[in-house]
């Protein structure tokens, strides 16, 4: 009986350890902190750091978009939260927006971030009810970023300079 228990324990613990080894090689974490974050995600114990998220929002409202994104990166190091990724994309949009010209590099980064947010919220439409924002859904934000990256005849319309940043 004891022998069977020992074998059973050996099998379960070996499979768990082997799974952890395969997971490490598949996910390629670069630091021990990333290993810890990944382990928390895998165990279902991962949570966004709300204090850092709010600090990022404060910076966002003061139009300090780069530092805001840094703060959100620290709040959601595994990039698993759709709401945080939506804000990251929004920060790229606001920073890249210009009355005469949009920054394609920032818009492209924003598009990647909003696509990631959409992928994370595939179960339900992503909606953020923040009165500070002009666009409340990820789909709207994506359309805005996509339109900014596309050159069309409308770009040469002088009335375009009267458009407001959302």
């Amino acid at each position: 009986m004891r022998s069977a228990l020992l074998h059973g324990f050996g099998i379960v613990s070996s499979l768990a350890y082997a799974g952890a080894v395969v997971w490490l090689y598949a996910t390629q974490p670069r630091t021990l902190a990333e290993v810890a974050t990944g382990a928390r995600v895998a165990a279902g114990a991962y949570q966004v750091d709300e204090a850092r998220f709010r600090a990022g929002q404060e910076l966002f409202r003061r139009e300090q978009y780069g530092p805001a994104r840094d703060e959100w990166d620290r709040a959601d190091p595994a990039r698993r939260d759709a709401r945080v990724q939506f804000y990251v994309a929004y920060a790229y949009y606001r920073e890249g927006w210009g009355r005469f010209h949009h920054d394609d590099r920032l818009y492209t980064a924003g598009l990647q971030a909003v696509d990631h947010a959409l992928a994370l919220s595939s179960a339900a439409p992503l909606r953020v009810d923040d009165p500070e924002l002009g666009l409340h859904t990820a789909v709207e934000l994506r359309a805005e970023l996509q339109a900014g990256l596309t050159t069309s005849l409308g770009d040469f319309n002088p009335m375009r300079t009267l458009e407001k940043r959302k």
Binding site: S3, L6, F9, G10, I11, S14, Y17, A18
Partner: protein
């Protein structure tokens, strides 16, 4: 007395069923781990294909040297749990072997293939040499120690450093004056990589020392003795 024997038997079994797979899996984990010199970040390098070939040759050597007797490890005389447990241990042994080679193989370039050929040639020759488990262990310890010294002590110095390279780079540069080192492509890793590799190889050889030809305790050996009558000699 019987209790004491039972405890010893359970301890031995725990070492083979739990400790041995864990040691082998730790080797499999650390064998591909490198620490980048630039930013001290971790790099997990999966085993290249050639290390799987080397591990297969080493597995054949384990069987030939009777370090592992496949018929005793797996078979219908064992329970399902025992078979599964032993199969997992053998699988872990295979991947630990592959990762032990990965640990001492240069990652790229001409040196990768020179080392791989050196291992292939040695293991192929060993297939035809008479080995017992103890000799095989000694031979493997020497093989890995040699490769470790070559890679982590001599060749790691060839990697370009902040001051243009280590002492072995300058030495090789002086010896091969005019010959390009372009084909000797040695990636720069932090010193921690060498320590990790040393620990991994020590663990691998230590784990091999725990491997027994038969993983389960065998009943006391039975000897068939042919008895000849001695009545006449005794004068009966």
């Amino acid at each position: 007395m019987r209790d004491e024997q039972e405890r010893v038997r359970l301890r031995r079994q725990a070492a083979r069923v739990v400790l041995l797979p864990w040691l082998l899996l730790t080797v499999a984990l650390l064998g591909g781990l490198r620490v980048a010199a630039r930013d001290r970040s971790l790099l997990f390098l999966p085993p290249p294909l050639v290390t799987l070939v080397l591990a297969a040759l080493l597995a054949a050597l384990f069987v030939r040297a009777r370090l592992v007797l496949p018929g005793r490890w797996l078979g219908s005389h064992l329970t399902v749990l025992q078979n599964v447990s032993h199969a997992l241990t053998l699988l872990a042994l295979f991947f630990a072997s592959a990762q032990a080679f990965n640990s001492v193989l240069p990652e790229a370039g001409l040196l990768h293939w020179i080392f791989a050929l050196f291992f292939l040639w040695t293991l192929w020759n060993d297939q035809f040499a008479p080995f017992d488990p103890r000799r095989l262990l000694r031979s493997l310890a020497v093989l890995f120690a040699t490769a470790f010294v070559l890679k982590h002590l001599l060749l790691s110095g060839l990697a370009p450093g902040p001051e243009g390279g280590g002492w072995s780079r300058r030495l090789v540069g002086a010896l091969l004056e005019g010959v390009t080192l372009g084909t000797i492509d040695v990636p720069a890793y932090a010193a921690a990589t060498g320590y990790l590799s040393f620990f991994t190889l020590a663990l691998f050889v230590g784990a091999l020392a725990l491997v027994r030809p038969s993983p389960e305790d065998q009943p006391a050996a039975l000897a068939i003795v042919e008895a000849t009558p001695v009545r006449d000699e005794l004068g009966f």
